[in-house]
Symmetry: C2
């Protein structure tokens, strides 16, 4: 059927064409069905109704879709019914609890990448994955299919070490420390990180306060091969790009299916050419991994998956019941991180975690007494030197100091309203207050935490300071902290048990 064309200037990820519903009847299509549109070229689009907006015989489409199609010589396009791609049938199979083979998984991944699947279909796919899952062989195929949607980096140096944290614990600023220690030992660790998705501050959010994080692949390779490490933003390269398209749909549903999560992490590591990977699994209340059992299951999955895709994977299950270190927020985390490298004294939680992780990577590389080796590289200043070398290679200052990074000028002290012991620090509330204060887009926004779990506090002691770059945000963050206090302070006696019967 032949249509005139009218365009509108809105770009949607889904290619959509709006048609009058009577025209749809004649075409035999309904809302969300597909049609083939042909002018100079042909493409597939999803149908919506345009009653009252355009007349019969007119196809209403975005300028971006129109540019893909062009028109016949007389300015019209031909439109006809088009079948859904095969991948829709494979999504149905997963809904029915069946296994998918490599080709079927590849078809789904490629059709998501090329916008051939609608939001409705991708949502059904993720829901089916969430409920019915995948076995580890399917996840391996899924991982490779996702990696192959983007660039694959091939280093001339081997082995390629890598480090990844599942995240979910605030204040986890160890990445630049681990990378600096590992590179200081002469190993290569081209580390890419992400920005905050739901957290208060991702590694990239605080690293960009002191150097460039958007590196092109060629630059990332040359720095890694020459200096030994980078702290780059993964988003600046074309690594497993289909992942971002899926996140758009996962996010409103608040789900992250296990198969999708594992394939998402590992596909980016495959794309980075990693041969040896350490995964940090922060475990505890208020994180993604609440229990030790869940952490062990993730570790087993990751190592099984590594074996199937030919990557040496180890896991560190780490304590995450409360924030790591004192600082939350870009400038504050950067300052704490650099200060540790400078050799200043800091809460044991950050330093120990960084040394343990670097130590495991050393042992993966065949270096014995890994933690001791990591400790000596940190204490000798070798790691700090390597850190500054990397910072400079990424366009930062050679004389960078922790004191260069300062919090926002508005601050508020949250004090203890009664004496006792810190029983719990709620990660979720900590993150919430920091985000309301402006983190991570306001670089000076965030929190400094002065009391950790088990510490004795007296009435009036400062528990944490909130920093912000505007008075309005500070006020809102303060209100959030006072109405949902992140600190739970109790007397040491949790429960008094009376009437204990003699045995």
């Amino acid at each position: 059927m032949r249509f005139n064309v009218k365009t509108f200037n809105i770009s949607t990820p889904e290619p959509q064409v709006l048609l009058e519903s009577e025209d749809c009847k004649v075409l035999g299509v309904k809302v969300n069905d597909r049609v083939m549109i042909s002018g100079e070229k042909s493409t597939i689009a999803l149908v919506s109704y345009a009653d009252g907006v355009v007349d019969r015989g007119t196809a209403y489409m975005s300028t971006s879709l129109f540019e893909k199609v062009g028109t016949n010589k007389d300015g019209t396009v031909d439109i006809m019914f088009a079948h859904a791609p095969d991948s829709v049938r494979y999504i149905r199979k997963k809904m029915d609890g069946e296994r998918l083979n490599k080709e079927q998984i590849e078809a789904i991944v490629e059709d998501i990448l090329d916008n051939r699947l609608s939001n409705i279909e991708i949502s059904a796919w993720l829901t089916a994955l969430y409920i019915n899952g995948m076995d580890i062989d399917e996840i391996a195929d899924f991982t490779m299919a996702m990696a192959n949607t983007g660039d694959i980096i091939k280093f001339s140096r081997k082995p390629v070490f890598d480090f990844h944290s599942l995240g979910g614990v605030p204040g986890n600023k160890i990445t630049p420390i681990v990378v600096s220690i590992v590179a200081a030992a002469g190993l290569m660790i081209p580390k890419t990180s992400s920005r905050a998705i739901s957290s208060a501050c991702g590694t990239s959010d605080f690293v960009e306060t002191f150097c460039d994080i958007e590196l092109e692949a060629s630059k990332l390779m040359s720095i890694s091969e020459n200096v030994g490490g980078v702290f780059a933003w993964g988003g600046s390269m074309n690594l497993a790009p289909v992942d971002d398209m899926v996140i758009r749909i996962e996010h409103p549903l608040g789900i992250n299916p296990r198969a999708q999560m594992l394939a998402s992490i590992m596909s980016k590591k495959v794309a980075m050419g990693s041969t040896h990977l350490l995964v940090d699994i922060p475990t505890g209340q208020g994180t993604k991994v609440p229990t030790l059992e869940a952490a062990k299951a993730y570790a087993r999955d990751l190592m099984d998956l590594g074996e199937r895709i030919g990557m040496h994977v180890e896991c560190a299950i780490t304590y995450a019941d409360q924030p790591i270190g004192s600082a939350i927020g870009p400038n504050l985390e950067a300052r704490e991180c650099i200060s540790i490298l400078e050799g200043n004294k800091h809460p044991a939680s950050v330093v120990e975690k960084a040394l343990e992780c670097a130590g495991i990577i050393f042992e993966m590389a065949g270096i014995s007494n890994g933690v001791a080796r990591a400790k000596s590289l940190l204490e000798s200043g070798a790691a700090h030197e390597k850190f500054l070398e990397i910072v400079q290679a990424q366009g930062g200052r050679a004389d960078l100091k922790s004191s260069d990074l300062q919090p926002g000028k508005y601050s508020y002290d949250v004090v203890a309203t009664h004496s006792g012991y810190v029983h719990t620090i709620f990660n979720k509330e900590i993150v919430n207050v920091a985000k309301i204060a402006g983190s991570p887009s306001d670089k000076g926004a965030g929190l400094l935490i002065f009391k950790k779990k088990g510490q004795r506090v007296e009435e009036g002691d400062v528990l944490m300071t909130i920093y912000a770059e505007s008075e309005a945000k500070l006020k809102r963050a303060k209100e959030a902290a006072l109405s949902n206090n992140p600190f739970d302070i109790e007397g040491m006696l949790i429960k008094r048990v009376a009437d204990i019967k003699p045995r």
Copy 2:
């Protein structure tokens, strides 16, 4: 945050606002998150990115959304982050395989109705329903919640008989016959039907060839109470309207979750005030219900559900391996249906099925020997008289004759290419050819089938005639029939077994 407004003239079922991505960062929202937009009034909308289309500080929305909101005095609107409704958490619960209570199910149904859930969320809901299902008590709550989204008709006459077919078998034109017989006995049966969704011709599609089917509720009630029956289109009333919104999402996924299907049928019956319902379950290859076991499971579900919502439900499992009767398509089905009422001789399949169904309804009403009673009402002409009374009440002609309904003027005879017995008639191919010929929108399009299963045919015998209203459609239908022949003709000897060993 304050925004200028720019509007576009596209109506989408989902209320959408497009914002520049940097503005989204400041608002703390991502694609598919919700925002509250406030001008004169407030409403919730879903966020998309509008980079390159509008500048920072501008909100781009449809005129229909804009009309809901208005602006502040200075022409701006205020936009802030808004939480997802609670129903999203209940969808998550169903994804986790949990039971939902009445309030939770009502929240989901109401939020779908009021466009508070996005396509992504509704897709996840239907997928979770498809995989995890509902128990019969949940389905009863679901049914009532769906019924309460629209009007509930209250007849002054009781009991209210009703009849429903699960559909899926072509040529099933028995509804006007059943209604006419039942009403001729003095019972009230206000029957609403639907148009074709994926079939070649729904009851409403052929009934509208001889009378009005779009009746307002008041007219439907008065005809039913005075004449005893109607054959109306359910879509013209506001019965369980949420159902249509769900179909929009089910359709591209090609699923119809059991819970959704049962609640969809029964909510419309609750809305019609039905007290006694007979459900026809066409069973056989190429229908929705392929096996007797599946049919029995549906029957059990429907009867259990009826018990919980206080409706007397019985089921008829009917034979559906091939089309019912000879005619497929609006005018052809209307002609066959009226001709049976006129007392002409016709294939036993239609007449028998109509009599059996009317007979069961009679027995539900306490009339013994139901089938015999139905037969006498048909043969005496009482049913025909009642039929014409209803037709007239619905604006049709009092002197309507079956010969008034004629097929399209273009026709093609499909003949047997070899002699043998009709082994199979594929419903799916029959439907496909009829739709390509133009059914149901071209009223004269369709098929007449001359040979049914088990009949002997000789080479050159006409198996069926295809009718169309245009030469082009006839040509395409003919090609479809020749490339995917709906008839499978074999010799009577299906398999020759040699070497039978003596016992």
